[in-house]
Symmetry: C2
């Protein structure tokens, strides 16, 4: 059961002028499931992306990077079921062949197609079935296709993840709609396992390239489910430029600030949705690390807490066994950390309690308060490192029986 997350209302997902989406049941890994998505981009749409840092990065990621660098893109092609990662030379050939097949149907060049895959690693794409599914997806292309597409990109997700926002730029209404997928193998190191965000804002390519990195850092790069960085992580920002405000070419403008806030806010919502639907998740945990000497060490502490199976199972059990959090801070890799200076708070539902100070449990801490907070479905852990002015925020989830069940059964 996802944590405080429900299926998006289809009527709340706004069409983005210039963007159409269509899906198909291609039977890529299992029959009867929507598993193939085409996103068509109107001429003039600008695209920027960030991708996994996993050295075993998937074939479609390699082809997508190359095609992005080669000029204007006309469509995205997304399949689920097979990740096309760890597939060597044949995997690359399959990714290129799928671009050729879609380009032939849309009447564009193969290099104008951006391919994405998600699913099982180390297996090859069933090319005949994928290609045979394309006409169905192309025939279904529709500006209102976001709801169907958000379903068609799911793997172990239990719920579709999509959202819309509207902002005004220079007095002109601008739409942003995005979707994401992912529930396991989530520790994005550039972006997450497939996030797509489209807007009709008019933005120069240079500004879009900066915006995709800035918004990723605060959203998809600030979540973790299980610490496993995927081979296929991709986050794509598309701007059709059909809104009639002046093109944003300068990052010092109010227009950029408004757009950045909207893109980042929507990206955070989509990233948090992945954590809320994390495999087996029953709790949504926010980790806020403050007063570090640098952002890097704050993130080290946050990841140590977020990846500790002992901390995660204590959250699952609603057990205020908070020494496990201290132990994780202690082994996070800050060699000169003075544990006597650290303070740790636990919070939920507007209540916050000091748990640890002076190298031990705070005198004022009462177990029954900790126990009450741990029973909440949304919990905040705040750590003051007393070393400087840097900070970092990370969102994660707990670790339950169902995580094991889902991942022990995934291929069967």
């Amino acid at each position: 059961m996802p944590v405080n997350l429900s299926t998006p209302d289809p009527s709340g997902l706004n069409a983005v002028p210039g963007i159409r989406l269509g899906v198909a049941e291609a039977g890529i890994r299992k029959p009867g499931r929507r598993d193939l998505t085409v996103i068509e981009l109107a001429p003039g749409t600008r695209v920027a992306g960030v991708f996994t840092t996993n050295r075993f990065c998937a074939a479609p990621v390699q082809v997508c990077r190359e095609h992005l660098a080669g000029g204007e893109s006309r469509a995205l092609l997304i399949n689920t079921g097979i990740a096309n990662a760890g597939t060597g030379a044949r995997g690359l050939a399959d990714a290129r062949a799928s671009c050729e097949a879609l380009a032939a149907q849309l009447g564009c060049e193969p290099r104008q197609i951006l391919p994405f895959s998600t699913g099982v690693i180390l297996e090859h794409l069933p090319m005949p079935r994928l290609v045979a599914g394309l006409p169905q997806a192309v025939a279904a292309l529709d500006p209102q296709g976001w709801f169907d597409a958000a379903h068609a990109i799911m793997t172990t997700d239990t719920i579709a993840k999509a959202a819309s926002r509207r902002v005004e730029i220079d007095g002109v209404g601008v739409t942003l709609t995005g979707m994401s997928k992912g529930a396991g193998m989530i520790r994005p190191n550039m972006a997450t396992m497939l996030g797509f965000l489209a807007t009709d804002a008019r933005v120069s390519q240079e500004v879009l390239d900066v915006l995709v990195r800035e918004s990723t850092e605060a959203s998809f790069n600030s979540i973790t489910v299980d610490g496993d960085t995927s081979t296929n992580d991709s986050f794509i920002l598309m701007a059709s430029g059909q809104a009639e405000h002046a093109e944003i070419t300068d990052m010092g403008t109010e227009a950029y600030r408004v757009l950045r806030e909207a893109v980042t806010g929507l990206a955070i919502e989509l990233a948090q949705a992945i954590v809320r639907d994390g495999e087996g998740a029953t709790k949504f945990i926010s980790l806020q690390i403050e007063s570090g000497a640098g952002r890097d060490e704050c993130r080290k502490v946050a990841y140590a807490i977020a990846h500790s199976p002992l901390v995660k199972t204590a959250f699952f059990a609603s057990d205020p066994n908070l020494g496990r959090i201290l132990a994780a801070i202690g082994y996070a890799g800050i060699a000169d950390l003075d544990v006597a200076q650290i303070r740790v708070w636990l919070g939920a539902d507007g209540e916050e309690v000091l748990v640890a100070e002076n190298g031990g449990r705070a005198d004022s801490y009462r177990e029954e308060v900790g126990a009450r907070i741990m029973r909440s479905s949304e919990i905040q852990v705040r750590v003051d490192l007393a070393r400087g002015a840097a900070g970092a925020t990370l969102w994660t989830c707990d670790f339950s029986y169902d995580y094991v069940k889902i991942n022990a059964d995934y291929r069967s």
Copy 2:
């Protein structure tokens, strides 16, 4: 159920001349459990230790380090139930007071007592109960006390871990007996959650100090269960010097080689026993990383595989979903790794199969062979990085429903 590990035969645990052990039921956290152990050392016994690098290191670890540096030790005092970690100034005072209480009974100085604790973090020791339990443990002191002591240091362990070896040094028989405990919060970074190894060999302090580090590196520092480095990790090597061979003062001698091999072999057996009894473990996994540019990068790759919840749950499910191993290698942090050069083998019961090469699945690999190997209780993964001559070995276990159950229930 531990993996291919059974309770040691008491008659196979040899007494070490100069070493006596006694246990008591002090009721430190729960009544009716042996939870207090005293190990008495004959005058002249030399002791060397290595300890956790966790910055939140426990009070007894701090006191133990200080006492070890201060001269000859006469006894070890070990309690389970409470870790006395994250307990600030009061925790330090409690550790010192427990040394004073035992010193008074043994007629020695408090600085001659080495204290150890294991159990729940962030709670204080019940000092009156601990002190009241000491006479029972002292009265029970016996050279044959290893079997009882191995039980009395257990926490979530399901089985006691102890073993003996005999070697000849310069024609003189020498005995080594050791014990260890630990099942969760196991990713030793100097040593593991309590390992004790005693011998009657005659060794200089300088040589003993080197030997404890060398043997730790190959044993307790080469295991992981859940990646959580404990606050209380300690491994202690004791040499009573009562065997009548010439004192070993030179690491270039055959005598040192024989002793090192015996100590390291026994330490590996005790360390592997911790993995075999890892919380919820159903499989024992050996990771062998070869042809790395350095030992550090080999260990990075090994830990990335060993700590991936996705890899661990695949082992639990006997599912040859081996792309997860490639993904872990890919995100292990080697920036210039060429995945096309890597080869990965899977092995069990004397059979080994090449799984991946040329950036993808090996043409010769057959899923049914992988599936058969994955059903074994002892599995080897071998990775060739094709970058140099360095290597590393790491032992770990799988990740099961019972890991979650044990750690969600630990304090209840």
